[in-house]
């Protein structure tokens, strides 16, 4: 933990602000998220649909358009040359870091490859933009790289529709990582893949991260994938970071009632013990509940939960959680240890 974080967000608030017929609507998709990611770690961001995962990703990538508006807070990268602002980059700055330093494996690899360009052409365009080199050279580089992915060089002559879903996803990952970026974001990289293919993609991501020493930010709702890949996991609920800890703690000793439920409701191949669902549903983010946003569904809700928002407090070993049940406990810990952020 001596190194400065490669990515740090402080009190980030990003809202979708729309105005139609004089009615202003604000969807608070990311509402006060602070996190810091260390170089070389796999950081998982988990949560259900509509919890703000994808919005948070857009902000961390510095890739946002109206109506999504950064309202407060900062996002900064640090590639060992001091922090640089990620939210206020101009086009030239984006072009200089995108793909070569900060990269992104998008969701749904079916739709991200140009359907009328051969894979080899796409690779050449991609590489030559950042490192001008002749076609022959990029071909050699790509061939060698694809071999690591278990893809034959015939793939370069193919069009995307000629490849299977798993091959396309591997091509997409290869594109995103061939320039050895330091920071890779992966948005649901295995969703929509069959399980056997999913396994190979998970292992592939693990291998790339290890061999290149890059930092991987993994966004997925699939807790099985999170358990397999992530070193640390942040759980989002209704635009808030409710808990963050190392993967083992999240799965074995979660403290927030929402995380406890999320982990407890997962079916396994080991037992048929009855599992329960939470009542209700995640709140709409244009009108979130007061106090703790989880209180209408929380089995332990107290009076204070309805009016006062619980602070995100640091427990032992950097474990952070936002729940009134543990706020007092953390007060004691805070005296002996400085809080993380």
């Amino acid at each position: 933990m001596a190194q400065p974080p490669i990515l740090e967000a402080r009190d980030l608030k990003a809202y979708y602000i729309t105005e139609a017929f004089g009615v202003r609507r604000t969807v608070k998709a990311v509402d006060g998220v602070s996190l810091s990611i260390q170089p070389g770690e796999i950081y998982g961001i988990a949560g259900e649909s509509g919890c703000g995962k994808s919005t948070l990703l857009k902000m961390l990538l510095g890739e946002f358009e109206p109506p999504l508006t950064p309202v407060e807070g900062t996002v900064a990268y640090d590639f060992g040359e001091g922090p640089s602002d990620a939210l206020g980059m101009d086009e030239a700055e984006v072009a200089s870091i995108r793909w070569s330093r900060v990269s992104y494996v998008p969701q749904g690899s079916m739709h991200v490859l140009n359907p009328v360009r051969r894979i080899g052409d796409t690779f050449h365009d991609f590489i030559s933009t950042h490192r001008p080199m002749p076609r022959r050279q990029t071909n050699e580089m790509v061939k060698a790289y694809l071999a690591e992915f278990g893809l034959r060089e015939g793939v370069l002559q193919s069009f995307p529709h000629q490849l299977s879903g798993g091959m396309r996803q591997r091509v997409t990952i290869a594109l995103a990582t061939i320039l050895s970026p330091k920071l890779i974001f992966a948005d649901e990289p295995t969703t929509a893949l069959d399980v056997v293919v999913q396994r190979s993609v998970i292992q592939l991501l693990k291998r790339i991260q290890r061999d290149h020493g890059s930092t991987l930010v993994l966004i997925t709702h699939d807790m099985g994938v999170q358990a397999n890949l992530a070193d640390r996991i942040a759980v989002l609920y209704a635009g808030k970071l409710v808990e963050e800890a190392d993967t083992r703690t999240i799965f074995k000793a979660p403290r927030h009632p929402y995380t406890q439920h999320l982990i407890g409701s997962l079916p396994t191949l080991e037992d048929k013990v009855a599992r329960q669902s939470l009542p209700g549903r995640p709140p709409a983010l244009d009108d979130p509940p007061t106090g703790c946003r989880f209180h209408p569904r929380c089995p332990y809700a107290m009076d204070i939960c309805k009016s006062v928002e619980p602070p995100l407090v640091t427990l032992e070993d950097g474990h952070r959680a936002a729940c009134h049940l543990i706020t007092d406990e953390a007060d004691h810990a805070a005296h002996s240890r400085p809080a993380l952020a």
Partner: protein, 326 residues
């Protein structure tokens, strides 16, 4: 109907469905379902899971069970009557009431422009399940089974309901005709984790309290294990292994079932995989002519697997389509 207890509820025997696709002069034969057999007994309702990867034929099999697709070969009997030979009238007045579908995405099932209760009234009217004020009563009954009431649902549009609630309404709609068999094609794959279990628990309740059998079609082995009594694992049209879910998924025998099970990411960091691939990806040539459909990928492949098609053999309380157990 002329239905006796010793007759199975659903009897599928050597069922095959072939799709032909023509490109110019060449015709490609695709056996979406190939020589599949399974039986659901009457009198003792159970949840039978059909599991497999995309393209394994599970949806085609389900569509045949629903009477939406005609079998090319083999037997498909519901309560002793061949589904393919039912007249349109029999289907409308009997079969469609008995066998009801539940679809994948509740928000795609219901039009966002229509009130969600209109679907309930439409089903009640189409199948003439009740008259006058009894219609409301019957709909309310069906909704109560899934934990809702007509008062809660009346006049609501789909966007006013959560995914879990909308899927409950979809199941309630299927229950209005008092079916004996629900065919649920990936009913929870579009739902969030916190809502998923309530739907799966509902299927168990329907089995235990309402006596409804469920054909649960899924790609997710963990939910199949949780929900089902028996399971059939499909591979490119074949049911390669079938039996009690604890046996088939607890200790799989078919090499394909073993591969599938080992590919499920466990929600337990102690069971994470290493970064090294266990199996080098091997090219698979399509179509494989003759022999076992898994031979090209099978780690235990033998010479005869490439030329002969294995039968289903009984082994350790289940049926396995693999020469290892011949």
């Amino acid at each position: 109907m002329q239905h006796t207890l010793d007759q199975p509820l659903l009897e599928i025997d050597h069922l095959t469905r072939v799709f032909l696709s023509r490109q110019g002069l060449s015709v490609t034969r695709l056996e979406a379902v190939d020589d599949a057999s399974l039986t659901l007994t009457a009198g003792k309702p159970e949840i039978y899971a059909l599991a497999g990867e995309s393209g394994s034929g599970k949806t085609t099999l389900a569509r045949m069970v629903l009477g939406l697709e005609r079998p090319s070969e083999g037997t498909l009997n519901y309560k002793g009557r061949s589904v393919g030979e039912l007249s349109a009238r029999d289907k409308r007045t009997w079969f469609y009431k008995e066998v009801q579908p539940v679809f994948q995405d509740p928000f795609a099932t219901f039009s966002p422009m229509k009130r969600i209760d209109s679907y309930l009234y439409e089903t009640a009217r189409n199948y003439q399940v009740a008259k006058g004020a009894d219609v409301d009563k019957r709909i309310d009954e069906a909704l109560r089974v899934v934990g809702l009431t007509l008062a809660e649902v009346r006049g609501r549009y789909p966007n006013e309901l959560s995914g879990g609630q909308a899927q409950r309404v979809s199941i309630a709609r299927a229950l209005i005709t008092r079916p004996s068999l629900l065919v649920a094609d990936e009913p929870v794959s579009m739902l969030d984790a916190s809502l998923r279990m309530s739907i799966l628990n509902l299927f168990k309740d329907l089995r235990d309290k309402e006596g409804v059998a469920v054909l649960y079609i899924t790609h997710d082995l963990a939910t199949a294990y949780y929900t089902a009594d028996r399971i059939g694992v499909m591979l490119r049209g074949w049911i390669v292994e079938t039996g009690p879910v604890e046996r088939v998924l607890g200790s799989p025998l078919h090499p394909y079932t073993q591969l599938l099970k080992s590919s499920v990411p466990q929600a337990d960091p102690d069971k994470a995989w290493s970064a090294e691939p266990t199996l080098a990806p091997r090219p698979v040539t399509f179509p494989v002519s003759g022999g076992c459909k898994f031979a090209a990928r099978c780690p235990k492949v033998m010479d005869r697997c490439r030329v002969e098609i294995p039968a289903s053999y009984e082994a350790e309380g289940r049926s396995v389509k693999c020469f290892l157990y011949a």
